[in-house]
Subunit: 365 residues, 2 copies
DNA sequence: TGGATTTATGAAACCGTTTACAGGGAACAC
DNA sequence: GTGTTCCCTGTAAACGGTTTCATAAATCCA
């Protein structure tokens, strides 16, 4: 590997001049610069980033810490981050901490010194604490934080609002008995969506305490399993709000197997608007979240912080999700819904199929 | 930020001793080590990675270069990489080069010096050339390379085999007129799947030249649009093989809108086996690819190379995908398929709906 | 008891940059 | 011709570690 010295020697100049060519073009005679660049090209010289950041204390890299990594949502998020970051000459150091808590601390420590800042999705209490620690060393931009930290900017999706909109829409269609498939309890997105769900009910004068809430974990299978629970519940809900699209899609599959039509028998609404949502059967009504924009905004904020120093006060951008009405929520008055008996599901060769309900003849609302 | 000197001073030892504590515990008296670690903890000292890698020439990081970043497949891939990397104390520097070609070169240059190696998905000619250049500087492990490069290990999915299996299965069910929705031409995965498709036909004595191949780009919408083309083709295919699940799912939606039943009117098979595949209507028969394992294997290879030096010869792991038979491929003899006329699609509020076919009365095979 | 060996530590060179400071020469004003 | 500027370039000191080599103290063995 050629070093700055090799280039300097070959070009017959000092290393300082070579360095200047790469940092402050204006300070060096255009002809000399040209010459040096030529030599450097021939030698395949690339300034050593480690040496560089040792003196400048800048790495042109930031860390991205995600609680998990699956499904379309995270692809999109990372895509948005990557796009804006590279457009500005930054690299991203990625890590997801789907392991234990010390792991997260370890990882963030390992990142320190390699990065100029951290973009972190801190959706639970533990990770917020870690974020606060990290903040002492480098700038931090939070994604959907479960609470704000002094000196951290944040960009968040208004989950409460999104969920409320979804529920309100269902109520507007005439639904009074709406169930929810919730996400992981410790996850703030999940909690906020549940809150929004309840607020929506309350605002319409319905009792949120009476509504069925089935726990879930954001995976398709959880939604699939929730189907049976929901259908057995009495009175049977006429609509279901799932905390994300994955679970909504799992739910759709389950309802279908039980012989229930969506939206004719039961309306379903999801959250996220993954690319596949519009291609479901029926096309899934869902709350559109601009995942890529979420990441992009975070990067822009980080760049601002890095450029402007610490003078700007803590800022928070809230992205408003928008309800994307497709067909799974229906347009019918649920009073007209066909009341059909609960039948055995059609046979399925789904590998991870849940145990079937046994000896259940008929379930009527 | 505390430096090694601060720790040394506070502990009353030389910096060499402190350094040794972090690198070669055995070389230093246990008591002294204990003491130093304590002081270091109090001072919140973390060795500066830049300085460290300046002398050691190791970064404990590797670059991951992906051609694109969307959908479940890439999430899973990155997840696999991340998991194994962190388990071995490595960080990952991520970049996708969905932009132009120089961009890729620039990015890989920017990575040089920050990484010990590169894991790169080089699915087209251009990126292979870049990979070859990168190889001159650091070890490279290729993911699904369109061709091998001297001195690069690789881990690949046997796309040809997977596609052939899918087609053979369809043929085994009695299908003789099978169409394909292909992926991007320059993409090797897409090309191999097409090759496998043709091989499967050839082996069964069918003419691959006669088969309808609709171009696509791996996105859902491409599959959706392909639906109309396929239905209009005469004789109308009784089965379709899509080069990935996204397109298969788009196709499913399109067929449904045109009033065609899957698998009763047309059988559909996808590729990838994304988490959602099993929850489609009907559950999607697809070729299962272990995306996370693909990434994990690549990391393990990289670690081996990094540990063992360049002594080991070029090695290539080929992962065999397996056909996951669900319901979209059906089990019927297609001779029994109902021949129904092509109707106007049901109204859809899909935002990005393609223009409808005009003035077409009926399409019979 | 003394030389050989082992163990624990320190001194200093080095990794490849950036940058403050200094200096040389040309252009300009007087 | 001298003093100022301005422009360009070089010298050398950081930056924060690792590692070779040297050395002092402790242990071993005869």
């Amino acid at each position: 590997m050629a070093t700055i010295r090799d280039v300097a020697r070959a070009a017959g100049v000092s290393i300082a001049t070579v360095s200047r060519v790469y940092n402050n073009q204006t300070l060096v005679n255009p002809q000399t610069a040209q010459h040096i660049l030529k030599i450097a090209g021939d030698l395949d010289y690339v300034p050593n980033p480690a040496a560089r950041s040792l003196t400048t204390r800048r790495t042109h890299t930031f860390g991205v810490l995600l609680p998990d990594l699956f499904g379309e949502f995270y692809s999109e998020l990372i895509r948005g981050i990557d796009l804006i970051a590279h457009r500005n000459g930054f690299q991203i150091l990625l890590s997801s901490f789907f392991r234990n808590s010390e792991d997260l601390v370890m990882t963030s420590k390992a990142m320190l010194g390699r990065i100029d800042g951290v973009i972190m999705m801190a959706t639970d209490e533990r990770s917020i604490n870690t974020a606060a620690k990290v903040r002492k060393k480098v700038p931090v931009v939070l994604l959907n934080p479960c609470k704000m930290i002094e000196g951290c900017h944040a960009v968040a999706v208004d989950n409460v609002r999104g969920a409320k909109d979804a529920v309100s829409h269902l109520i507007g269609l005439g639904h009074r008995n709406i169930a929810m498939v919730a996400g992981p309890e410790e996850n703030i997105d999940a909690r906020d969506r549940l809150t929004g769900f309840r607020q929506g009910l309350t605002e319409a004068g319905l009792d949120p305490g009476a509504a069925l809430v089935v726990p879930g974990d954001f995976r398709e299978l959880a939604g699939y399993k929730a189907g049976a629970t929901i259908l057995r519940h009495k009175p049977r809900p006429t609509a279901v709000f799932a905390a994300n699209d994955g679970m909504a899609i799992g739910l759709l599959a389950s309802l279908r197997e039980w012989g229930f039509g969506v939206p004719d028998d039961i309306a379903v609404v999801g959250f996220d608007d993954v690319a596949l949502a519009g291609f479901m059967n029926p096309p899934l009504t869902t709350v559109h979240v601009d995942a890529s924009g979420l990441g992009g905004h975070a990067v822009e904020m980080m760049l601002e912080v890095l450029a402007g120093g610490a003078d700007s006060e803590t800022r928070r951008i809230v992205l408003s999700p928008s309800l994307k009405i497709r067909q799974s929520c229906g347009t019918l008055d649920p009073a007209q819904l066909v009341r059909r008996p609960l039948m055995e599901p059609r046979p399925s060769n789904r590998d991870d199929a849940t145990p079937r309900l046994q000896g259940e003849e008929e379930v009527q609302p």
